[in-house]
């Protein structure tokens, strides 16, 4: 071999070695990036599970409160309101024969409006009907 041929072979060998080390570096970087991506995805997944658990817990609490509120409203409409209405009606009937309870009815604004003029009202109506 001549001297220039030797020089070109050594140059190509050096360039091959350089390419190989660059490839190695690139592969290492890709591997590192993949690891980082997996770690970040796993962290996000954990965070997402935590958020899901928190939302589920909150949803359960709110739904429990909502069910209780609906039950209260329904119970009031079906059970308590008829009792209270009946009680008030009977108190108003009672007040016609016992006017001393009127201050209590006045206090709650449930005094029957027709209780005062009631005795005088029926008298003229038969006369009007007779014409």
């Amino acid at each position: 071999m001549t001297e220039p041929e030797n020089a070109s072979v050594s140059a190509s060998l050096e360039s091959l070695a350089g390419d190989s080390s660059a490839l190695q570096t690139l592969q290492n970087e890709v591997r590192t990036l993949r690891s980082l991506f997996s770690a970040a995805t796993m962290a996000l997944l954990l965070l997402s599970f935590g958020i899901n658990a928190f939302l589920y817990y909150q949803d359960r609490i709110v739904r429990k409160e909502l069910d209780a509120a609906k039950k209260t409203a329904q119970e009031f409409e079906t059970v308590k309101r008829p009792i209270v209405s009946s009680f008030i009606t009977r108190l108003q009937d009672f007040a016609r024969s016992h006017p001393d309870i009127n201050p209590i009815l006045d206090k709650y604004g449930i005094r029957p409006a027709a209780s005062a003029p009631a005795p005088s009202a029926p008298a003229p109506s038969p006369a009007n009907n007779g014409k």
Partner: protein
């Protein structure tokens, strides 16, 4: 290749979890809205009930002065009998509240 599939599985799980979170947020917001709508109604019911309770207490007090109202109270089970009712009107009213 194995690394790629692992990352794909992770991304898939993350996507599913995100969708589940979105669904949960929607459910929670609807439930919260319903609860907020119910709130004034519950306050109104409580106010009505407290007024009725106060009326009952005043009527029980009145029944001590005028026992003629006792049959009315007994017919609605607000007072079991005149002796027991006069002895503990508060217990009767407490029962009514706890119903």
């Amino acid at each position: 290749m194995r690394n790629n599939s692992f990352a794909a599985v992770l991304v898939g799980l993350l996507f599913i979890s995100a969708v589940a979170a979105a669904v949960q947020v929607l459910r929670l917001s609807f439930a919260t809205r319903d609860l907020r709508r119910m709130h004034p109604r519950i306050l109104e019911i409580n106010a009505h009930w407290n007024l009725a309770q106060a009326l009952l207490n005043d009527t029980l007090e009145y029944s001590k002065r005028n026992p003629a109202i006792d049959p009315l109270l007994q017919s609605l089970n607000f007072k079991t009998n005149s002796v027991a009712g006069a002895a503990s009107p508060q217990s009767v009213s407490t029962q009514s509240v706890s119903k």
